[in-house]
Amino acid sequence: MRNISALVFASGLAFLLLVITWQFILGGAPMLIGEAILQQAAEELGAANLVTSVVLGYRGIDTLGEIAILFTASTATSLVLSSIAEKTSAKSKPGLRDDGTILASSASLFFPLLMTIGLYIILHGHLTPGGGFQGGVILAAAFFLPLLAVPGRGVNHSGLALVEGFAGASFIVIGIIALFQGKAFLQPLFGHGEMGSLLSAGSLPLLYIAVGLKVGAELSGLLANLAEPSGNGDETLSATESASTEQTSMQAEKTKS
C-alpha cells in the first residue's frame, strides 16, 4: 500500500518537475553574476582558475562553512561511535590478521606517491583544475590505503586532530587577519603576483593548503572512525561491550529519572 502510494506520488512529482524544467532553455539560463565574475575575476583576484577564485574568493565563506561541516561530521561521528569513556586514542592490537605481503607492501609503496600527487594538486589549485578538496581526498586515500591493507592498524587520531584543528584555524585566522587590517573578513591578502605562476593570487594558495590539509585529515579521520568502530576491532566483542555501555547508560538515565 505504502509503496503504491509512494509510486503514484513520485510519478506525479516527476511529471511536475519535468513540466517545470521543460520551460528552461538548455544553456540559456541567465548567468548574471557568472558573466560578471568571468569578466572581472582575473584582475580582481589574479587566479588563473576562475572556479578557485569563486570558491575561495567570492564565496569564501561557503568554503569555510563546508570545511566546518566536514569537521562537524567527523566530530559527530566520533561522538556517536565512541563509547562513554574516551577511547579513541590510537592502539594496535596484537595478532592482527595479515592480508598478504603484496597488498601490505604495495600499500606502503603507494603511500608516498599519493602524497605527492595530492600535495601537487593542492598547491596548483589556483592554476589548474583541482584544488584543496580534490587534493585533500587523495591525501586521505594515501592515509587510508594502509588501513585497508592491514586492518586493525591504528591511526594516530591525536595527530589527525592536531592537523585538522590547525588547518581549519589557519583558514579562519587568515580571514581574521584581513579584518584586523581593516579589510573585510576573508578578503585576500598580499598582492596578486604575476598571474599563472605558482606564487600568485595572493592568499588563495594558503587557503587552499589549509583546506587540503583539513579535508585530508577529516576524511581519513572519518574513514578510520568507521573502520574501527568505537575504537576497537573485533565486531561481536565490541557489540557486547558497547551494548553493555548502552546498558549502563540506560540504567544511568533510568536512575536519574
Partner: protein, 493 residues
C-alpha cells in the same frame, strides 16, 4: 560593521581548536566556550544598539551580488544576539566527558549566526547544512539506542529536505542567474510564475524539516523524547525559529504574491491541528511538549502568512514568545518525564518548578496579561483584518486549538498540583541546575510582562523594517555595483 563576521568566525575557530585545547587542559575546554559566546553576544548587542537603519556588509570585500553579503537589520541582529544568549543558558556546564558536545554547540552557534545574518541563498543553504549536521550530532549525544535510531531517521528526512531545498535553489538560479537575496528580489518578477513558486515550495518544504512544518516533522517527537532536554529546548526554541526566519526572508524579498502566503497558511493550519490534537493524546510530558511545539510553530507560520506589517509583527511576537516559553518547559521534563498520571504531588516536592510550569502553560494558552496573550491578540486581529475566508477558517482553527491546548495543559497542571504520595517526592525533585535556567526563562517572561509597552513599540519598528522589501534590496545593492551587473540589471528590467 565588518566585525560582525566574528559572530561566525569566532565560534568556528574555537570549535576547530577545541580538540587541541582539550588535549591541553580539560578545564579550559569547559570555559572557553562560554567566553566565546559572551563575545558573540557583545558584538551582536553592540551593533543592535548602534544600528540606525539596515546595513549590508560584503564578505571578502566582494560586492554583492557577486560576493556574499551579510544583511544586518534589527531582526537579524536580534536573532544573532538571541543565539549566544540561549546557548549560554543551555550550555552543558556540568558536562564532564570530553569536548565534542561543546564544539558541536559552538559550531551550531556559528552556523546559526551565519543563517541569521547571511543574505545569500546558497550561503544560507551551507549554513543550514552546518546547522543540521551539528544538531544531528547533538541529538545523538545521549548515546542511547533509541537516540541513535531517532537521529538516523532525522538525518534521512532532513537529508531529503536539503535535496529538495537544493533543487529549489537550483531552479531559482536557473531562472534568475543570481543567488543574492536582494538581487533575487530585484528580479522577483521572473519568479512570479509556476517555476519560481514551485522553487519556493521546494525550499519551504526542505527547510521546513527544521522548522517543524507539517507534514515533514515526523522526527520531532522521536528526537525530542530521546535527546536530553537541553538539546530539545535548543532545537525547539532556537533552531526552528532560524529556519522560519529563512523562509520569511525569502517570502518578504521575492514572494509577495498571495499564492505563496496561501501555501504557508495551509501548512500552518494543518500544523496547528495535527500538533495540538496529538499533544492532547500524548501521555508523557516530553512528547506532549514536542507536539505542542509543532502546533505553536504552525501558529507562527499562520501569523507570517498574513500579508503586511501586521502579519510580520504577529509572527515575530509568537516566535519570540515560543522561544522563551518552550525551552523553559522542556527543561522541566528532565525529572518529570514519567507518565503524566505519575506526576501527582510534584508541586509539593518542587513548588518552584510547578509554579514555572503553570506560568509557562498560562502564557502558552494566552491568558492575559501574560505576554502570550498579546502575541495571540496580534494574531487574531491580524487574521480578522486579513478578512479572507481562508484566514477566518484559520482563526477558527486557532481558537479551537487553544481550547484543546488549555485542556491538556490544565489536566497536567492539576495532576501536578494535586496531593501525592510522600514516597514519590524524591523522584519528582527537579535538579537545581535545570530549575535555575527555567527560572531565568520565567523571569524573562515576567519582565516582558512589565515592559509590554516599550516592547510593543520596538516590535512594531522591527516588523515594519523587516517587512519592507524595497528597503532590503536597497540596503544590499546600494553598495557600489560593478558596472557589468549594473547594466545587466538594467537590461533585465
Amino acid at each position: 560593521m565588518n566585525n560582525i563576521a566574528f559572530n561566525v568566525a569566532l565560534p568556528l575557530l574555537t570549535a576547530f581548536l577545541l580538540p587541541i585545547i582539550s588535549s591541553g587542559s580539560k578545564s579550559a575546554t569547559r570555559f572557553v566556550g562560554p567566553f566565546v559566546l559572551l563575545a558573540m553576544l557583545w558584538f551582536a548587542l553592540a551593533y543592535f544598539n548602534v544600528l540606525q537603519h539596515p546595513v549590508a556588509i560584503a564578505l571578502g570585500g566582494f560586492l554583492p551580488p557577486l560576493g556574499i553579503s551579510f544583511h544586518l537589520d534589527n531582526l537579524s541582529l536580534l536573532m544573532a544576539a538571541l543565539i549566544p544568549l540561549m546557548m549560554l543558558l543551555l550550555w552543558p556546564y556540568n558536562n564532564r566527558e570530553g569536548f565534542r558536545e561543546e564544539s558541536l554547540l559552538l559550531l551550531l552557534a556559528g552556523a546559526a549566526s551565519g543563517l541569521a545574518l547571511s543574505g545569500d541563498l546558497f550561503n544560507i543553504y551551507v549554513f543550514y547544512e552546518l546547522l543540521s549536521v551539528a544538531s544531528f550530532g547533538l541529538a545523538a549525544a545521549n548515546r542511547t539506542a533509541a537516540a541513535f535510531a531517532a537521529t538516523f531517521r532525522y538525518v534521512i528526512i532532513s537529508g531529503l529536505g536539503t535535496v529538495l531545498a537544493l533543487t529549489g535553489i537550483a531552479l531559482i538560479y536557473t531562472q534568475t542567474g543570481t543567488l543574492n537575496l536582494a538581487h533575487i528580489g530585484l528580479l522577483a518578477s521572473q519568479l512570479n510564475n509556476p517555476v519560481g513558486l514551485s522553487a519556493f515550495a521546494l525550499i519551504v518544504i526542505g527547510i521546513g524539516v527544521k522548522a517543524e512544518i507539517f507534514p515533514v516533522n515526523g522526527w520531532v517527537p522521536e528526537v525530542y523524547s530521546t535527546a536530553s532536554p537541553r538539546i530539545s529546548a535548543l532545537l525547539a526554541g532556537l533552531i526552528s525559529k532560524l529556519a522560519v526566519l529563512v523562509i520569511i526572508r525569502l517570502l518578504v524579498v521575492a514572494y509577495q504574491g498571495s499564492q505563496a502566503l496561501t501555501l504557508l497558511l495551509v501548512l500552518g493550519m494543518l500544523g496547528i491541528i495535527w500538533g495540538e490534537l496529538s499533544a492532547w493524546h500524548s501521555k508523557d510530558l516530553k512528547r506532549m511538549f514536542s507536539f505542542s511545539s509543532i502546533g505553536q510553530l504552525g501558529m507562527v507560520l499562520v501569523a507570517f502568512s498574513i500579508p503586511g506589517d501586521a502579519g510580520m509583527a504577529a509572527g515575530i511576537a509568537m516566535m519570540l514568545h515560543h522561544l522563551v516559553v518552550k525551552p523553559g518547559m522542556f527543561l522541566l521534563t528532565e525529572n518529570w518525564n514519567g507518565p503524566i498520571k505519575k506526576l501527582k504531588g510534584a508541586a509539593t516536592s518542587s513548588p518552584l518548578a510547578a509554579f514555572l510550569f503553570m506560568l509557562f502553560a498560562l502564557s502558552m494558552i494566552g491568558v492575559p496579561p501574560l505576554p502570550g496573550f498579546w502575541a495571540k491578540l496580534l494574531l487574531v486581529t491580524g487574521l480578522v483584518e486579513a478578512n479572507a475566508p481562508l484566514y477566518i477558517i484559520a482563526l477558527v482553527v486557532l481558537l479551537t486549538a487553544t481550547v484543546i491546548e488549555a485542556h491538556y495543559l490544565m489536566s497536567t497542571a492539576l495532576k501536578i498540583f494535586s496531593r501525592g504520595k510522600k514516597k514519590h517526592f524524591k523522584k519528582l525533585l527537579q535538579t537545581p541546575f535545570n530549575l535555575t535556567i527555567a527560572t531565568i526563562f520565567g523571569a524573562v517572561l515576567l519582565a516582558a510582562l512589565f515592559t509590554l509597552t516599550p516592547l510593543g513599540n520596538k516590535l512594531n519598528q522591527i516588523a515594519t523594517e523587516s517587512s519592507d522589501r524595497s528597503l532590503y534590496i536597497k540596503t544590499t545593492l546600494s553598495l557600489k555595483l560593478p558596472p557589468q551587473v549594473k547594466q545587466q540589471v538594467s537590461k533585465v528590467q
